[in-house]
Symmetry: C2
Subunit: 91 residues, 2 copies
Amino acid sequence: MSDQKDNKQRITVSIYGQPYTVVGQESPAYVKEVAKAVDQKMREVKKHNPYLDTTRLAVLTAVNVVDDYFKVLEELEQLKQKSERSTTGDE
Amino acid sequence: MSDQKDNKQRITVSIYGQPYTVVGQESPAYVKEVAKAVDQKMREVKKHNPYLDTTRLAVLTAVNVVDDYFKVLEELEQLKQKSERSTTGDE
């Protein structure tokens, strides 16, 4: 997703009190769900780091989300390997 | 992960030209990998949205990462359901 102008759907969401126009092929409901998750994560990070300015807060939020992403990716890879092993009868 | 002070390991990384001290139980190698991914994603988002200030760029980066995260989570859920079905013999 990006906020560039093109011929795709444009959806405006509010994150941490600011409007963002997101462009993409995803449904408005999905885009709103993503925006809400970012907003919640930013407020959660802010709670633990009250002295952070918004830029550092947003970067640290991205760090947290990438951490979550890498962990889910790892779990997915392990499950894929496990399901391949059981399919080929290696277990 | 957070950048609060406590008795956990503190690792300083560079993201988009700024130093961030991340505190957590993860290895320095892992934290650096996460920071590198955020840095790369920010530069990628900036390429498509050159007019964005750093705060909006970081928020939009978090939006993109949550989007990736939700998609991997969805894939993981589907694989888990599929593996449960094949275990219980429903397929």
